[in-house]
């Protein structure tokens, strides 16, 4: 029987623990930024289609930025 080979432990980064906020899934920071971007685009497109005739798009953009920030912070 030969001696077991000693191996150097790999210095791998530990994954950050997933968190559960108000979103119905566990998320990490990347997930929340991704969802915020998706929501930002969706709100702006729907605003242009249905609301821009009466309310300027800037309002929708500001709202979607606020919502995006909320998702990133508390999602």
């Amino acid at each position: 029987m030969s001696d077991p080979v000693e191996t150097e432990p790999l210095d791998l980064p530990q994954p950050r623990p997933a968190r559960q906020g108000f979103l119905p899934i566990h998320t990490n920071a990347f997930d929340r930024v991704f969802i915020a971007v998706i929501v930002f685009v969706a709100i702006n497109l729907l605003w242009m289609r249905f609301l821009e005739a009466s309310i300027p798009l800037t309002v929708g953009t500001v709202l979607s930025v606020i919502l995006g920030a909320f998702i990133v912070a508390r999602g």
Partner: protein, 293 residues
């Protein structure tokens, strides 16, 4: 620390290729999507127009109709491929004479180029020449003409896609079925479970990752299908099979409206990502939610 550095060194060529052929073209399309640019127009310069292309997009009825058609096509094609692929995979799990031969034969559509698949199906379905309209008329008195009837043209594109891509699903599910442990099935049999219960409570959960991966790949492919459909129907009759890929092609190449075409491409990419993410969140991420910490 040294291992990490060596790892990053080995990954550098991959990142470089990904950056040059993936990230840079995406950023280029992203920038063009916010411009008005037609290099063959009277004014060939590029003008930054903010979200004007997207504003035009959400009111473009033919584009929205194409988008809806593409979603319908993708759902019919992917569901058909997964269901048929599962049954074929189960069939190829059994032993029968000539199994290897038939398994190879059934994967042949995969190696055919999409444009050749479209040409083949055109020869099969063109009225007055193809065997399909001829025999449908002779045996059932059914008039099959994909150049005249929109629903038949749509169905023909779906069937063609299923014919072309089901073998991929079969191979993926066959690999997943082959790798399944036998013990849960033996225990279920001892407990008196019937075939449906075994399928629902054992086979399907164990197959879920493979099915999900296959659905992702096929969904992305189906949403950007162009060449097969272009060859078979050319987007017609009228606009019955003018899927989003064909629509973008018409805007970008014959009309040379690069800004608007880029905006369409970006929206299509956005919808593809959203659909895949929703599917992932519904089938995988929610399961994690139920799991205790």
């Amino acid at each position: 620390m040294r291992s990490s550095s060596v790892g990053w060194l080995f990954l550098t060529p991959t990142f470089f290729v990904l950056f040059v052929f993936g990230v840079v073209p995406f950023l280029y399309v992203l920038v063009i999507g916010f411009t008005q640019w037609n290099s063959f127009a009277a004014d060939p310069t590029m003008h930054f127009v903010w979200a004007e292309n997207f504003r035009r997009l959400v009111f473009d009825e033919p584009f929205l109709r194409s988008l809806w058609l593409t979603l319908k096509f993708a759902v019919f094609a992917v569901v058909g491929e997964v269901v048929l692929g599962y049954f074929l995979a189960q069939f190829f799990m059994r032993d029968f004479p000539g199994k290897g031969f038939f398994r190879t034969l059934h994967t042949l559509p995969l190696v055919v180029a999409p444009i050749a698949v479209g040409a083949t199906w055109r020869l099969l379905t063109v009225p007055g020449l193809g065997p399909l309209p001829y025999y449908l008329d002779r045996w059932f008195g059914y008039e099959f003409n994909i150049g005249r009837y929109p629903s038949q043209a749509f169905a023909a594109t779906v069937v063609m896609d299923i014919w072309h891509w089901t073998p991929l699903v079969t191979l993926t599910l066959l690999a997943a079925l082959s790798a399944m442990p036998k013990e849960p099935f033996e225990q279920a049999q001892i407990d008196g479970a019937n075939r449906f219960q075994m399928f629902w409570h054992i086979t399907l959960p164990l197959l879920k990752p493979a099915i999900l991966a296959t659905v992702f790949i096929r969904l992305m492919d189906a949403l950007r299908t162009v060449d097969e459909v272009w060859m078979l129907t050319g987007g017609g009759p009228a606009s019955a099979t003018r899927y989003i890929g064909l629509y973008i092609w018409r805007v970008v190449f014959p009309k040379t409206d690069y800004g608007y075409g880029s905006a369409m491409s970006l929206l299509t990419l956005y919808l593809t990502v959203v659909m895949c993410w929703l599917l992932y969140a519904a089938l995988v991420a929610r399961r994690d939610l139920r799991r205790p910490e």
